[in-house]
């Protein structure tokens, strides 16, 4: 279950090389929110612009385990960059779940050319309560007309500017609540959808997070994914897959924090005593590694379950909960070990700490994960 094949090892090396050559030297720019387009161009050269496009439309159709490897390595480099690149996977799962071949071609075409896709579900009034989506889609002839506002949409502005493809959730019948939710394929650049506010965030500043304002957006009826009312099912299945990827980023992020702390501890000498010889520090390092490793095992077990077509929804909720809180706590421990230096920007851990904090909030807050997990046990 945990052995990597030769091609998976090659994949891991390919992403590590990218991280070392393109992310680490540019972390300062990335944290300022700059360098995103240049970095994405370099990323496209790795052949990993989207990991999940089916072979039928020219994609590489990686299995979940390989996807997890890529996201772990990217998370090690920068969680913001991983989140941004990940939009091309998150935004594409709906097509794998409910897209026709025609729709898949339409969606993956621009992405495989080196563009960003996006996944637009969250709204100001619909976060953890995804069923409360207030964006409407009204059928008129052979079109739907969409109206509403989406928020916290990763790479949404890029998807519009690049005239790429995104999946937008809207209600086709608000009287049905979450059963009235539907998913639509929307081409970026279509009149009627524009970027509103661009979020200025504590961390993951290497990704773009935007509000999307939708006013009388006309989309052809053929843009509907699956049937009217399939939206909630598509969204939930997408997030089940997404959660494993968020957890994989968490593992990378935690590993990075651990490595920064270990490097610091090895170099630091207090008086005549190396910090590494201090048991309080050494044991903390041991606990950090134990929790990173435990989270990693959860991620790869989740990938195994999914790749072997076994139920994994419950497991992916557990994995997201554990791995993301691990990342936050390990980053905090690393900062503690590094003292005041850790609190300064030049330490490197400062950015990792800010980045780690998002993981237990997005793609289903950890409270939602607790609902899913306890719901499974207590029904």
């Amino acid at each position: 279950m945990f052995d990597f094949t030769d091609s998976q090892l090659e994949l891991q090396q390919r992403v590590r090389k990218f991280v070392n050559e393109n992310i680490f030297p540019n972390l300062e720019l990335i944290d300022k929110g700059e360098y995103q387009e240049e970095l994405f161009k370099e990323w496209c050269k790795t052949g990993l612009v989207t990991l999940v496009a089916p072979k039928a439309v020219g994609g590489i159709e990686l299995d979940t385990k390989s996807c997890a490897i890529v996201m772990e390595e990217l998370g090690y480099g920068d969680v913001g960059v991983a989140t941004g690149f990940g939009a091309n996977n998150l935004g594409s799962y709906p097509l794998l779940i409910s897209g026709t071949l025609e729709q898949q071609k339409q969606h993956f075409g621009p992405i495989l050319e080196g563009k960003y896709g996006a996944f637009a579900l969250t709204e100001p009034g619909a976060g953890s309560d995804a069923g409360a989506v207030a964006t409407t889609a009204e059928r008129k002839g052979d079109e739907y007309i969409l109206n509403g506002t989406k928020c916290f949409i990763t790479q949404g502005g890029f998807a519009i500017d690049m005239q790429s493809s995104m999946v937008v959730f809207a209600s086709t019948d608000r009287t049905l609540g979450s059963k009235g939710l539907s998913a639509f394929l929307v081409k970026g650049g279509t009149p009627g959808i524009r970027v509103g506010k661009i979020e200025d965030k504590m961390g993951i500043r290497g990704s773009q997070t935007v509000e999307l304002v939708i006013e009388d957006l006309h989309v052809p009826a053929s843009s509907l994914l699956g049937e009217e009312g399939d939206g909630m099912k598509i969204a939930m299945k997408t997030l089940d897959s997404g959660r494993l990827m968020v957890a994989a980023q968490g593992v990378g992020c935690g590993q990075r924090a651990l490595d920064l702390a270990v490097d610091y501890v090895k170099k630091q000498v207090e008086g005549v005593k190396p910090l590494a010889k201090q048991q309080a520090i050494a044991f903390k390092i041991a606990e950090m590694e134990a929790s990173v490793e435990a989270a990693r095992q959860l991620v790869y077990r989740g990938a195994f379950l999914k790749d072997n077509k076994q139920p994994y929804s419950h497991h992916s909720a557990i994995t997201k909960l554990f791995a993301t809180e691990m990342a936050m706590n390990v980053a905090n421990s690393a900062m503690e070990i590094m003292g005041s230096y850790g609190y300064s920007k030049e330490s490197g851990i400062e950015k990792v700490w800010r980045d780690a904090r998002i993981l237990s909030i997005y793609e289903g807050t950890n409270q939602v994960q607790r609902l899913v997990i306890s719901g499974g046990l207590l029904r």
Binding site: D129, M202, Q268, S344, Q367
Partner: protein, 372 residues
């Protein structure tokens, strides 16, 4: 037990000032890591800078509880401003008031009370902790003064202060007992670089280079450790009060958000999970509040407060992180956006208790006492 004495009277005036003057600049100054020079005079005009200075030298010396109240109230609007002030009134003014000779007090304190001179504090050194005896900043005696050479980092109010209290080695062979404290004028030192931080970003911290900088001995040779420990303990109590101030604001905003944020058809404050998070924040703030003000009361009673300050620090380091973490979580994505105050509170809270050495961990001190 009334922990606050007469300080309730000044609390209101400080709260008003804080809201009117410090709150409007907090957001932009955090973003730009700008030192809010203009507020120094304004705080001085409010007599905040005389709280640790006797009347003889222009101050309005009050009890330490009032200093803690100031720290808390300023922090409710602006964590950086609170730390700038605490550095000034405790690490610099109090140290000079308590350990300086009359000449030194006359030369510095009136200007520090009036805000003409801002005080700073230089303790930490790059690479290793001074408390481990590895410090490299040395002071050599000359006619009438000392010449100080070496590098200090994370100097509080560094680069902006007009006068620094500096801990340096006068007798390397004696290790910690060979440490002494000095008063050094700002123009004697060079700020090598500003240190940009996660939070408390408009509180200036810098690396300072001392190159035969003239220093005046504060107290006697060998008093350095005693003075540094006192500054540390009093600052820890004040920082706990700052944590209380920021924590109360974070809780207030979390309560408000939870009552207005509707999900699943009702405000999220109806969810038990959210209620528990709020309760745990309140528990930690209340405990921190109690620890901070009972320690302050001990200071005021002239009792030994070292133990209190150490236990407080051990609790506060975890509590401040957890208060901030819960506040962000209750706010969800909004709490991660820089538009909301919450993420600034979280970053500021994280910086109140950093230990630069295993020797500074409260656990080390507590265990040392237990195993004596």
């Amino acid at each position: 037990m009334e922990l606050y004495n007469n300080s309730q009277l000044i609390r209101k005036s400080m709260a008003d000032f804080s809201k009117a003057v410090l709150e409007p600049i907090a957001y932009e100054d955090d973003r730009n890591a700008r030192f809010p020079k203009e507020i120094i005079k304004e705080m001085a005009n409010k007599n905040y800078f005389g709280l640790t200075v006797s009347e003889e030298f222009g101050g309005n010396k009050s009890d330490f509880t009032s200093v803690a109240v100031m720290a808390e109230e300023l922090a409710k609007a602006n964590g950086s401003a609170a730390v700038i002030s605490i550095t000034h009134v405790i690490s610099a003014a109090h140290a000079i008031e308590k350990y300086g000779n009359d000449e030194q007090k006359k030369a510095y304190l009136p200007d520090m009370v009036s805000g003409n001179k801002l005080g700073g504090y230089a303790f930490i050194e790059p690479g290793a902790s001074i408390a481990a005896g590895a410090n490299k900043v040395v002071a050599v005696k000359e006619e009438g003064y000392y010449l100080i050479t070496g590098k200090k980092t994370l100097v509080a109010n560094g680069g902006e202060a007009d006068v620094y209290v500096v801990i340096a080695q006068t007798n390397a062979e004696e290790g910690l007992k060979g440490l002494s404290a000095f008063i050094v004028d700002g123009d004697e030192v060079k700020a090598a670089k500003n240190i940009d931080k996660l939070g408390l970003r408009s509180f200036p911290t810098a690396e300072l280079e001392f190159n035969k900088s003239k220093g005046q001995l504060l107290g006697n040779e060998g008093d350095g450790l005693k003075i540094a420990n006192e500054i540390q303990a009093l600052s820890d109590i004040a920082h706990a009060a700052i944590g209380v101030g920021i924590g109360k604001k974070a809780l207030e905003e979390s309560i408000k958000h939870s009552k207005t944020r509707v999900q699943f058809g009702f405000p999220i404050s109806k969810l038990q999970a959210v209620q528990w998070m709020l309760a745990e924040m309140a528990e930690k703030i209340h405990t921190l509040d109690t620890l901070a003000y009972s320690a302050a009361k001990k200071v005021d009673a002239g009792e030994d407060y070292m133990n209190e300050s150490v236990y407080l620090k051990m609790f506060a380091q975890k509590a401040t992180f957890e208060i901030g973490t819960n506040a962000v979580q209750i706010h969800g994505g909004t709490g991660y956006s820089r538009e909301a105050n919450i993420e600034r509170y979280f970053r500021d809270l994280r910086g109140l208790f950093n230990f630069d050495s295993i020797n500074e961990y409260p656990q080390k001190i507590i265990a040392g006492n237990l195993l004596k």
